[in-house]
């Protein structure tokens, strides 16, 4: 800690330079990623790995600052997600997509959980790994669907409703994990979990019921006022949620849900750039916690998980779109679109650093593989369908000669 004024000044100078270099580095990576049409998230992770313990160069000055920025990044990620949906959309999505959501959970959470146990991890570590393999990346998927002009496609509502259900499932999963991470006894843990879930439901109901009033309260002609009030509100609610052991992120998610209409639109505009800044830092920060020497060991597990995860998501989308009467090509598109994992898997992995040191490297490699593979598979799903159709046609006369 600096004591004299000159020390403080030089400390600030060093902090600025280090932080600025990090942010510039991230911007270069984002440029590269976007140039080749990929999400920058995995690149931020890799950058983090390079500058963490055992990396190329350790960041000594800005570490603490980056940690706080990263925490805010998670909160803003969840807030913006809550902002995406209106209460009615969530309620409607829950009704229509419940079956799909359950299927999604069963097919994608359980393999991760089983894998965790197979690797000999503690139950909590396995539970977190299940979360990592479960949740698709809504930001990657929404972006890819938009880029490929597939928002109008008929399988798209099936995809989106699964994403909505996953986000709602997070509202239960994250508080649950938050309580388990405290390592309380069974009885006390059960009480805490019950309390946490009760709080979430109560706040959710309040948010839906009084969201309009909150929106009116926050609304103002000046962008500055809206920015400050929304950002302040998010931090305060997140802080209280954390204190109630509900997980700060879910508090922010609920604030996002509560805001609606014109205010939600303004908030999206104003806080979007903040989210981009802090979330990039968050992904970088998760990378910082990963020792590069742990990655080779994590790679086989991550590859296996990625293979299983891609197939299970593909199956989820295929079946869910089939329920809606979508044709084979649409079902293929739905399945492959869902393969991408991203921000959520990283958020969950970030929670478990203390519980299972191997979780973060495995999750990082897993996200790296699927965040890149998912959009590529999505892009070429029609070509893949075409190949399969051709192949089937070739086989058809041989397989069923009686039809000819």
């Amino acid at each position: 800690m600096p004591h004299s004024p000159t020390d403080a000044l030089s400390h600030t100078a060093a902090l600025f330079i280090e932080l600025g270099a990090v942010v510039i580095g991230l911007s270069v990576l984002a440029r590269l990623a976007l140039r080749i049409g990929l999400t920058p998230i995995p690149f931020y992770l890799i950058a983090g790995v390079c500058f963490g313990d055992g990396g190329l160069h350790a960041l000594s000055r800005s570490n603490e600052f980056i940690r706080v920025e990263a925490e805010i990044g998670v909160i803003l990620l969840l807030f913006m997600l809550g902002l995406e949906y209106t209460g009615e959309e969530l309620a409607g999505g829950l009704k229509r997509g419940f079956r799909g959501g359950m299927l999604d959970g069963a097919l994608n959470f359980l393999p991760g959980l089983a894998f965790g146990f197979l690797l000999g991890w503690k139950p909590l570590g396995a539970l977190l790994l299940g979360g990592v393999t479960w949740i698709s990346s809504s930001s990657i998927i929404a972006k890819v669907l938009g880029d490929l002009d597939r928002l109008g496609n008929r399988e798209t509502p099936s995809i989106l409703s699964i994403l909505v259900l996953e986000d709602l499932a997070m509202a239960v999963y994250l508080p649950l994990v938050a309580v388990l991470l405290l390592g309380l006894g069974v009885a006390q843990g059960a009480i805490s979990i019950g309390l946490a879930l009760l709080t979430v439901s109560a706040v959710l109901l309040l948010a839906l019921k009084f969201g309009d009033r909150l929106s009116n309260l926050v609304a103002h002609a000046s962008s500055e006022v809206v920015l400050l009030s929304v950002f302040g509100l998010i931090l305060v609610v997140a802080g209280f949620a954390q204190r109630l052991q509900v997980s700060a992120a879910i508090g922010a998610f609920l604030v996002g849900l509560a805001l609606s209409g014109a205010v939600a639109e303004r908030a999206r505009e104003l806080l979007g750039p903040l989210r981009d800044l802090f979330a990039a830092t968050f992904f970088f920060f998760v990378g910082l916690g990963i020792n590069p020497s742990a990655l080779p060991a994590a790679l086989p597990a991550a590859l296996g998980l990625a293979l299983v995860g891609a197939i299970s998501k593909m199956a989820t989308g295929w079946i869910a779109a089939g329920w809606e009467g979508i044709g084979a090509r649409g079902r293929m598109r739905a399945g492959l679109s869902l393969v991408a994992r991203g921000e959520f898997s990283v958020v969950i992995a970030g929670l478990g650093a203390a519980v299972e040191p191997r979780l973060a490297p495995v999750a990082a490699a897993y996200v790296l593989i699927l965040a890149i593979l998912g959009p590529i598979l999505t892009r070429f799903s029609d070509a893949l369908s075409q190949t399969l159709e051709n192949w089937q046609e070739k086989r058809q006369p041989v397989a069923t000669p009686s039809d000819a």
């Binding site: 409607g92 597939r150 928002l151 109008g152 509502p157 994403l163 044709g327």
Partner: protein, 165 residues
């Protein structure tokens, strides 16, 4: 109008789609931001769009004007025309070179020759209901006539050329 289906796209907006009389599927997405997408569904794969055109607020307004203006004129005509049993109500704007301009309704022999009745005349935007036989038609008037569709055809010829086939 009844075959429009509406689907909520959580986090995006609302999609509407319908099948045209020609059997093609068209749709729109109204994004929350106000942006609109015009969708043309693929004939080969009914679940996919073969084309999606992005329309900003202004573009959507222009398109709506182009499509809406025509259809509202059409609707006005449809509303006025052909709604009285087998009879048609029609508007005949009288031009300067028409033979009937300056002639009284009785002298055009429109009713005797074709059976079409002039039920009203619009002059300078003002309606003159049930004009009698002595009422002189002038260029710029719009004669509002009732009769069988083919009779109205002949009445128009009569007013225009003084004779009808």
């Amino acid at each position: 109008m009844s075959n429009i289906t509406q689907t909520t796209l959580p986090g995006v907006g609302v999609r509407h789609e319908f099948t045209t009389k020609g059997g093609e599927r068209l749709g729109t997405i109204t994004h929350r931001s106000g942006r609109r997408d015009l969708l043309i569904f693929s004939a080969k794969d009914p679940d996919a769009c073969s084309r999606s055109v992005r329309l900003e607020d202004e573009d959507a307004d222009i398109l709506a004007d182009l499509l809406g203006a025509q259809s509202s004129v059409q609707r006005e005509q449809d509303r006025v025309r052909g709604e009285i049993g087998g009879l048609t109500l029609d508007w005949l704007p009288i031009a300067t070179e028409w033979k009937c301009s300056g002639v009284s309704i009785a002298d055009t022999h429109i009713f005797d020759e074709t059976g079409v009745a002039v039920v009203a005349v619009m002059r300078h935007g003002e309606p003159i209901p049930t004009p009698d036989g002595n009422f002189r038609l002038r260029a710029g008037d719009v004669a509002i006539v009732v009769g069988a569709p083919e009779a109205i055809q002949r009445a128009q010829e009569l007013l225009q050329r003084g004779v009808c086939g």
